[in-house]
Symmetry: C2
Subunit: 526 residues, 2 copies
């Protein structure tokens, strides 16, 4: 498939602007073919207008129609074949095997939402029927369900060029909810974005959806994104990326004449606590798996464990030695782009400069090729962690800090001091857990996902996933950006009072033609 | 019961400040007995610290324990007897009969949340069990449920001194979710606030809840409220009141180091559309009921119908004549306080000054006593409504504007131009509805509750209620402040991965000891 480099505005290829850019292979810093056109403000406006028009039609599509649309998007992504795998691997430096797995996940998540739509109960239907003879006042008939918010703007992430990008979780959940989507393509993988946009457009045509239901604009500069966030037709934003970017979008959205919800999934250092008995019993295994988890995908996972809390006991030294050995063996790996590599290096430099606080324990193999980054293992004291804010900040890449507590109380104090994170992990035996119930209590209030004896990298797409957490992990702790509950980011409840049957949505008709689960006069039933 | 005039800080009476104020009877502008002490910043901080401590205990209370707490609060409010009715009526100018009804509603809403807690399914439990032999990777065990956010700050409203105040919907839903509450008492009814705080404190003692689970601070000045909104221990805000106040709180909360969710329920003009055949068939009835709805409680309902859209047809004049007749008969009624009365008068003056756009059709009876306001009926053209923003603004009080459309298209254009409202109402026959399906489509996107052939005043407390709507009706359209779904404003999902049964919350144990409805491996079941 040949790349064209243009914006997709409601099914039409468009290149009205003059600013262009190219994709870059981070493995060797070489430029990739195809010139991409940054969208103009007018093109963003055009996409928003078409999306707004499309919403009038798309919001009324049945669950079955939307499910087919999502299924066909998944199929069309597969139909892109090796062109997608090759370009995506070239643009990100991620190996083809990883991209193939990520494609499967991306398709799986579209198909999971299709399943949810076909089943139909996700709308949270609630019905309270009239009680005409109630005293002192009769009760009318009330019926409630979730309805789509309107046009959603999606900012894909660099680190998951398929699963968190053009047809990733934000797009899948927004389309599932009944919202049109405008994607701001990530400039790190513009060709991948174009290929996936092509696939979505084919699905739009094949399933007879209104053209404006999907648009994609290119924009390495801030203006394109801000035009999307501040456009009056845009009613919600999904974002995955840096803390700075996520907060800027959150603030811009709040300062609009009509503020809109922003779901920014930002930085997280995902603390891991290795408790004493677990360390004693499983030191070698944990050291090996920790190294793998920290350096997976060049450490560029939102759930990368960047803080490892340990007690200063007789097993510590052996664990540190083992971990150092593994870290030193790690090959340098291509990071996603020049900016990410530079930020990682500067983070490493910052830690290294604080030699009174932080000690470099191990460094992986080096490479001067492309934007390759080396694994880094640091050590600090829990006392320092409690005192110095910068130690909790994410350094996006293959790096982690062992934080040594001199007492149980110091470990708990470190946990209490922490800000919000996506995940927290405990490595613990039954005895450890019995001795540290207060730690579990503290961590539960700091994260969206609490994990026992498994590393946090790897986010399962299922009904029960929470990929979210208190600020600054996200801008909205009451949501998840992975899993089927992600759909509720883009809906709001609407109540119909005293409506005749024929004007009610199918989901709310008394005889329940869709057979969905509903809260009917206070009872859950189908 | 004797009033003391102090702040309630975690069960302790406190008056460390020097600023004092008194309640006022708006019927005759007379001062009421008891001097009230505005809280100091230190007292707010003390309340927040105690609430934070209490959260560690309260968040672990079972649904049955919290249900008992809510039930006892309701009982203790009833035990306040006529002291509550008398003081509340004196402070608000609302007749005792109305206060008695509102007390029943307030108790009913506490008891409805208690029912929800005893049933238990509200936590939205989701379970995806492990698949150890899945290829290419095994699936771990994931379990999800809603957990309380933390300390909630509640700003009560002046217009519902019981149902939207100290033990109103915000407090009831926050306590139900497992969050401690700090109420900023409304300075318009400080004695009522104190009596209800007493009742809650008795319930805290009787059900052995931690003292910090409830505090109440007085504060006519902005500082006390802002200290609450910006306190690091406060994790969410519920507010009912003016647009200016609601937006100021929303912005302050977003500008915190850790932004927190704000549920501001603000201004709404609740458009009513009287369609042609309904007007022809039910002109007299609608005119009478419109007058009652607009002037109920001196027009001080969030759902007061302040915009009435009509077609310029042969039945218009008769309807206007009838409505004028009713409006002119309406007695002047005490408004809630001096400020509200002044704002209402200034709104009336503003409309009257725009005589080229707005015509005064009728004025109710006048009274110079206390803060009594007179009913006002205005008329304007749909064309003017489309052009002039100020016509959509709420004028809190017994006033409405008939907006005359010269064509069906003008009526639709008016609807399209509207901002967010709490409700929209259609008076329509079956034929009208068939002719105006596009109007329903437009309105559904503008409001939280869509009503047919009933006036919007009166908000049923039930599972299916939505008392919310797009901005500027609220700061968060994805929520409701009335009805059982209001509980989700104060929760966030938490996922437990690979947890042993004995460490899981009861709601998530495999054998479902609470017998709640759960999404278990994709199936809804108990």
């Amino acid at each position: 498939m040949e790349l064209i480099g243009k914006n997709y505005i409601a099914g039409v290829l468009s290149s009205k602007g003059k600013i262009t850019f190219k994709g870059v292979n981070p493995s060797d810093a070489s430029e990739l073919p195809t010139l991409f056109y940054e969208a103009t403000i007018e093109e963003v406006d055009e996409a928003a207008s078409k999306a707004h028009e499309a919403f009038a039609i798309y919001r009324k599509k049945s669950g079955i129609e939307k499910a087919l649309f999502l299924d066909v998007i998944a199929d069309e992504i597969l139909n892109l074949g090796d062109d997608l795998i090759d370009r995506c691997s070239a643009e990100t430096g991620l190996p083809p095997g990883r991209i193939i797995n990520e494609r499967a996940r991306t398709m799986g998540q579209l198909k999971l939402f299709a399943t949810v739509l076909r089943e139909g109960s996700w709308v949270e239907a609630r019905i309270d029927t009239a009680i005409p003879n109630r005293e002192p006042l009769p009760r009318s008939d009330f019926r409630y369900m979730q309805k789509p918010l309107g046009v959603v703007g999606v900012f894909g992430a660099s680190n998951f060029p398929l699963a968190f990008s053009v047809a990733g979780g934000d797009t899948a959940s927004a389309l599932a909810s009944g919202c049109p989507v405008i994607v701001k393509a990530h400039p790190s993988h513009p060709g991948t974005c174009e290929l996936v946009a092509m696939a979505i457009n084919k699905a739009v045509e094949k399933t007879n959806m209104p053209n404006g239901v999907f648009s994609m604009v290119h924009g390495p500069s801030v203006e394109v994104g801000m035009a999307l966030v501040t456009h009056p037709h845009v009613k919600a934003i999904g974002f995955t990326g840096s803390t700075r970017g996520g907060i800027a979008i959150f603030q811009a959205a709040n300062n609009r004449e009509e503020p809109i919800p922003v779901y920014s999934e930002m930085g997280s250092t995902n603390p891991v606590f290795i408790l004493p008995e677990a360390l004693k019993e499983r030191s070698e295994k944990i050291a090996k798996e920790l190294t793998e988890s920290v350096t997976l995908g060049a450490g560029q996972f939102c759930t990368n464990p960047g803080l490892v809390f340990l007690n200063n006991d007789e097993n510590l030294q052996e664990f540190q030695k083992e971990t150092v050995k593994h870290f030193e063996e790690v090959e340098a790996a291509a990071m996603l782009n020049k900016g990410i590599k530079a930020a990682f290096d500067s983070g490493i430099e910052h830690l290294s400069k604080n030699a009174d606080t932080v000690k470099l324990l191990a460094k992986g193999k080096e490479s001067s090729e492309g934007y390759k980054g080396s694994a880094h293992l640091f050590e600090t004291k829990a006392k320092s962690f409690i005192e110095k804010k910068f130690l909790e900040e994410e350094n996006f890449g293959p790096s982690t800090i062992n934080i040594i507590a001199d007492s149980r109380e110091e470990l708990l104090a470190s946990a209490r001091k922490m800000k919000g994170h996506l995940t927290a992990t405990l490595f613990a035996t039954a005895n450890d857990l019995a001795n540290y119930t207060d730690l579990i209590d503290i961590l539960e209030q700091k994260v969206g996902r609490l994990i026992l004896n498994e590393f946090p990298t790897g986010v399962e797409v299922c009904h029960s996933m929470v990929h979210g957490g208190p600020f600054p992990a996200t801008s909205n702790s009451r949501s998840t950006s992975v899993g089927t509950a992600a759909i509720y980011r883009f809906t709001r409840p609407v109540c119909y009072q005293n409506f005749p049957e024929h004007l009610l949505p199918e989901e709310l008709k008394t005889d329940n033609p869709l057979g969905i689960m509903r809260l009917f006069n206070g009872d859950y039933k189908r």
